[in-house]
Symmetry: D2
Subunit: 161 residues, 4 copies
């Protein structure tokens, strides 16, 4: 099994800025890379940084760039780490890609936090990707589904059926 991991940014990659004035986070190196180094998994993988944006800042031009990158990639199993706010929009944008299994995942708390869900969510996506038909999926809150079967609970922010 070979998996490509693509960083677009989002909460999972947020870090506390070194020279800190005020409240802003910054998006740092891909959390997925640190997680996989700790796991040292028995599959081949590559990690690529495409964007470092909060998902509310992701434009259609960014989505076009992402789609183009996925289409040209030799990998047919792709995990995209992405902010939660527009994860469904990006998933929809990638919907017509054929012959590739694409899972979008991320986190509600940055991987740098003690109580982060990042490691669990990356595990969740990897556990599913081997067994899924080609298509575009979301792996969050302990479930993995076709993106078009999920919506967000506005109160909790959770992805639900």
């Amino acid at each position: 099994m070979s998996i490509l991991f693509v960083q677009t940014g989002g909460t999972i990659d947020k870090d506390y800025p070194r020279a800190t004035k005020g409240y802003a986070f910054e998006i740092n190196d891909p959390a997925v890379e640190r997680i996989l180094q700790r796991i040292d998994p028995e599959f081949e993988y590559s990690v690529k940084t495409l964007l470092k944006k909060d998902s509310q800042e992701i434009t259609d031009a960014d989505r076009m760039k992402l789609k183009d990158f996925v289409l040209k990639s030799k990998f047919d199993k792709i995990v995209i780490t992405h902010g939660t706010d527009t994860m469904l929009d990006t998933a929809k944008y990638l919907d017509d890609i054929k012959n590739k299994t694409i899972i979008l995942t991320g986190a509600f708390k940055p991987e740098k936090f003690k109580d982060s869900d990042a490691e669990f969510n990356i595990g969740l996506a990897i556990g599913a990707i081997e067994f899924l038909q080609p298509g575009v999926y979301i792996a969050m809150n302990g479930i993995v589904h076709h993106y078009f079967k999920l919506k967000r609970n506005r109160k909790t922010g959770h992805f639900v059926e």
Copy 2:
């Protein structure tokens, strides 16, 4: 989706003893419960403690008790947390159970450790269980496979094909 989690012990649940003399760990409450409380997943689950043993101490009587428990359970998706040393033996013991998807997982570092693989491995098992045919599987080192297709690398301790 409903999942039953069964604790048998092993590294994942090891904690530092409160009244400490010398080198010994103790096996404490199921790590999977703490992990799922942090995640607050969108599926139903139950956690059951059956054993609290290092996997080298698990006997065939223990395995019979485990098999019996799994057979009588109303759940058909079951994740068993287990020590790595005899994980393959226990998997083999459960092999003739029909109509249930059983995944054994655990950790190389206790969930209490900062650099534990526990959260990732639990995510890995959950990500796969929805999409697997009935059978007995192992989810470790980033891969999920029928137990009989895996063996252990003696140097690294990793489960490999």
Copy 3:
């Protein structure tokens, strides 16, 4: 020994907001309370929330409120957790308080982060407070000094002599 801990906010108490849109942190419950619960120390203490502000937002009215609170307190050993950006300003404001040992401390990374300096810094302040003469001190970067002997290194943000 009895110590009063006063929360004013700052990086040490920053958390990731539950309903997250964009980049902003929020200031949450006092980190010092979580740290002391983990330690279960052999001295008496009380934790009081006075402000929950980034230190750039702290006004002279806030400082007056803090000074008043410290003066009226029955404690004579007081640790104030505070943002780093205006820690020296607040220390100066408290300078003419007599007969109390006051230490300001905080963190460069929130206590919620895996690589936070919060626990070390709180330990540093507590280790010193028993042995210091009355006055106003800063405990940061491994050193404890009269505030007026310290300045900030603009590059690193560290407090240095």
Copy 4:
């Protein structure tokens, strides 16, 4: 300020063995080194590994070696990390050293654990060492005292007056 840190072993340095069979911990690299690298303190320091033993295994020959090392060292501020079970014995052994401030500290949970007291305790010792007269002290459970004023609570394991 210059501080010498001496590793003798104990809980603070315990790690989960790589090739794990059964329950035993192993004593690994000095935790104090990892902690100080994260803090990047504004004082000079050196870390020396003298022993890697659980404190129940420390012999009088080890204590003689430690005393000799401390006496010959050019440092006059010395923090010794040590297991808690015989920390008082080692402190007593060092009692007649003149002109040096020696603090013994350690941890109830290894620094590798998420809920460790190691960072706090190292901070505690450093906060006190600048302001103490020469002598032999223990810094544990949030207090710093002459070793001969402390005893252990048998139930909790805490060092108390």
